[in-house]
Symmetry: C2
Subunit: 201 residues, 2 copies
Amino acid sequence: MVKYGSMSKGADTKDLILRTALDFASRCGLEALSIGELAKKVGMSKSGLFGHFNSKEKLQMMVLDYAANDFVQAVLLPAYKEPRGIPRIEATVANWYKWIESQLSGGCPFVAAAFEYDDRPGQVQDHLRKHLGTMINSFAKSAEIAKEEGHFSSDVNAQEFAYRFYSFLLGLHLYSKLLKDQNAFDYHKSAFEDLISKYRA
Amino acid sequence: MVKYGSMSKGADTKDLILRTALDFASRCGLEALSIGELAKKVGMSKSGLFGHFNSKEKLQMMVLDYAANDFVQAVLLPAYKEPRGIPRIEATVANWYKWIESQLSGGCPFVAAAFEYDDRPGQVQDHLRKHLGTMINSFAKSAEIAKEEGHFSSDVNAQEFAYRFYSFLLGLHLYSKLLKDQNAFDYHKSAFEDLISKYRA
DNA sequence: GAATTTAACGAACGACCGTACTTTTTTTAT
DNA sequence: ATAAAAAAAGTACGGTCGTTCGTTAAATTC
């Protein structure tokens, strides 16, 4: 929710809180996000901040929503201005690179959260699964479009493409964040290119 | 460290503690592992358990060592009994499937820990990076061997292979654990097979 | 500008955290 | 069996956690 002027006072600070929380969560995880620490970061009291959400779970889910919106704005929407098919898929990757480099010092927040909540049932996990499912479906949809355009051969399995496409992004996250491997982006780039050329009609 | 008879009493319970801790950590994460809860699980007092490690960080690192040993015993060593080259790589994957299904209810503990500690510097992260580096190098080494055997073409980049190989395993973890996608193993299998056939000489 | 709703605060809660001590029990070695 | 050593328990401390409550300050509405 990027707004410029002013919504109400409450909505303004809520936005500030969520932006701060997302930045922190993308670096340290959604669970490590503590209300007290977050309050210190935005410069308000613990209880004042808490009042906006009434539970930590709601805060966490709203952070996910905020991140999803960020992702759509920064990655998907710009890509949809590119021509249908392979160019659009390539633009998605290019935007992804920019997204995780600039806005979020800790990489894709969904990747981080995905492995954090992979076995921690609850509302947050359900929420996360929904978001990730949407995201992956958008990749599969891109593959379908590429088929329609005749860029991909007509017998490719779009879900299979999405799996491989996202797996390489997971690898990128791991190699660059944890392993600090300087070749991370090169590895991803060549893997992605080979993936495209394999599916090309 | 799977031993049968008795080591000393201390080593016995330490082993029990680590086994329990690994089971929990592979499901809920290394950080969520708390000493009090762990003590309850193994049926002893918090302080009694604490005495074996003297710090939580040491406990966490020992859990990682324990997991690494498990991995070597269950995945790598059996694979090394297969013929060098592609058969050995295929055996690695087959053993991996068995490993995450049987022993650890929460999937590969390294995958889980990797994303948990990707931006949490410290001894544990260093330790984890070392283990993961070793693991990935063993995959690259397998590719080198496949080249020597003439199974892979001589111009393949072994590190590149390792990246793609591990990325697909990350995807498998995500799809099966979080997304609960019933096709997870199918997606991985076909991706892995395509990977092999691409690199085949 | 007064009335009312909303936002923020400060203090306190019970629970649990990792850790440090001391004491008791159990295991090992003589 | 006895002495020494190792393991386990007990208790307590300072801290942080998420959350609740009552109160004050600010923003919005009329």
